[in-house]
């Protein structure tokens, strides 16, 4: 998993829950990286799972909720760090439509070894379907990112999650529609 997810996560924890909590969850987890993350590195995704579950223990907030919130935050960070991806789109669905064929293509240029999830998108009259496939259980992160996109474009969107995952592989169909 790319380093940016880890470094942004730690920063968000520091910001929302304080340096102590951040330090504590790092100390309590058994992390091969010892919690020293950089955006350009690549780390085992189970480190994030450990960190999230420790945070959940300490804050008594369900892990899924934490990850969803983190996803929303990540979207804002992406806007700040990679504004070029948001330049030629003016709505949430159009943006989500570019993830697979534009954003991931650019990521792959920088990190040819990155194992990215796939986001097949199909737009319909009322909304769109996004099919998330990944070898890692982070559909909640995807949910947060979608939610964050809607917020960024200032749109009110319903997100339905149909989890069809099996064999430890994520397969989730997101059905998005505009409210009202």
């Amino acid at each position: 998993m790319k380093g940016i997810v880890f470094s942004e996560f730690i920063e968000l924890v520091e910001e929302k829950f304080g340096l102590d909590i951040a330090d504590t969850i790092i100390e309590e987890s058994d992390l091969p990286s010892q919690g020293a993350y950089t955006q350009v590195g690549t780390y085992d995704h189970t480190e994030l799972i450990q960190l999230v579950s420790k945070l959940s223990e300490h804050t008594e907030i369900p892990a899924d909720d934490l990850v969803k919130t983190f996803g929303e935050h990540m979207l804002q960070r992406f806007v700040a760090l990679y504004p070029q991806f948001f330049e030629n789109v003016d709505n949430c669905f159009d943006f989500l439509d570019t993830i697979e064929n534009k954003v991931h293509v650019e990521v792959q240029k920088l990190y040819p070894e990155a194992e990215l999830p796939s986001f097949d998108s199909m737009k319909s009259e009322n909304g769109m379907q996004l099919i998330y496939r990944s070898n890692r259980p982070f559909s909640a992160l995807a949910y947060g990112l979608i939610r964050g996109s809607a917020t960024y474009f200032n749109e009110d969107i319903d997100i339905e999650m149909d989890d069809q995952s099996s064999d430890g592989k994520s397969f989730v169909v997101f059905t998005l529609s505009h409210k009202n």
């Binding site: 950089t38 955006q39 350009v40 760090l81 920088l110 990190y111």
Partner: protein, 479 residues
Amino acid sequence: MEQEQNLQEQLANMEKQLARNDRRLNRERLARKDAEQLLESKSLQLYQSNQSLKELTENLERQIQERTKELENEKDHALYLSQIKSEFVATMSHEIRTPLNGIMSVLELLQEHHLNREQNQLLNIARHSSKTLLCVINDILDFSKIEAGQMQFEQIAFNLQQLLKNIHMSFLQKAQKKGIALNLYIDSTVPEYIESDPIRLTQVLNNYLSNAIKFTEYGGVSINVISQSELINFSVCDSGVGIPEEKLDLLFKDFSQVDASTTRKYGGTGLGLVITKRIVENMNGSVSVNSKLSEGSCFSAVLPLKKATAQQATDLNNVSILENQLKPVEDLDLSGHDHSQKANLEPVHSTENQKHSPTSHILLVDDNAVNRLVGEKTLHALGFEVTLAPSGFDAIDKLSTTNNYDMILMDCQMPELSGYDTTKILRNQKIKLPIIALTANTSKEDREMAQESGMNGFITKPFSIAEIRDTLMKFLDKK
């Protein structure tokens, strides 16, 4: 009071320290983020450079492919031109042989007349020149045939010892005239019969032998044949002028002679050894040479050995081309005395001539007027009665009305109806007369075609009086 003040000072210091650490942490964090962004932008640049390089490589590869294709096309075109040229040379050589046949035959006929000493001398010059020219043309023809991959090779069983003795005999006179020895050594390991191509083997040894005799003034030349397991080695060694070591490599190369002055002193096309090498290689063998300046040279050809038996063997006397191959070009004799075939052969055959000629009637079929004229004169000189037919159709006509011929001499390459086709028609009409092919082509295919069409024998143009007489006698005797 003082303690409290100290503590407050310590606390203030610690807070200062903490604030400093915080600022430091933030600076480090910012530095890290800068570094991360820098790294990403460098990665992107690297990616883009790689892409450009890849495109460049692809462009280069495409260019290389295009160039390679162009070169291949040019090479194909060059090969095509070379082949066209070889074919042209082959055709030309063939075309030159036809009129040369006329010249040589006329010279042969002149020889039959009673000439004075000076006339005889001039005639000998003309005969020698025409024979030399024929050799040159044959060399060029052979070379172009090899170049065009059209030279035919065959694998037949024959009496090797007999062939070697014939070759030895054919050069003996020439060697004796030069006052040098010519010896033939056949090792006891050499089988009597082998399977190979007797025509090409003769050509190879003739080449070696004529060179050896040409370049040897004292001492002698020996033909040595030895066999070892699967191989047979033919070598021709001389005590001649020898070849400088640095020139040895050039010997078997196309169009190279040891030096230009050699050409002037000794003559020749420079193709003989090239042809020899190609022939031997085509027979799955190899050639080699050893030489020492002013001591002599040793040329050899090593061929795969395949033993045969007398039962399998072809009678070499039936392969008429051999007779042609066996005849080396005679040396120019300006004395006016003829030492060649006439002197050798005429006394033996002159009585036979008289025995057959009054009764034998020959039908000569040839589309070429000069050939007909020469043929007629030659046959008349030998005492035969001759009827001429300018085409296969005319021959068929003549044979359907008259049946007093004893033999037919048939040109093979005639327009409209070839000699082979004419023969087939005649055989279908139950005409059983001996039919002898007359042709400038002597390939294996031609001989097979002649046999298939029902011809009984083969005479290669240009032919000598002695040759045509011998062949005719053989068939008329049988009859």
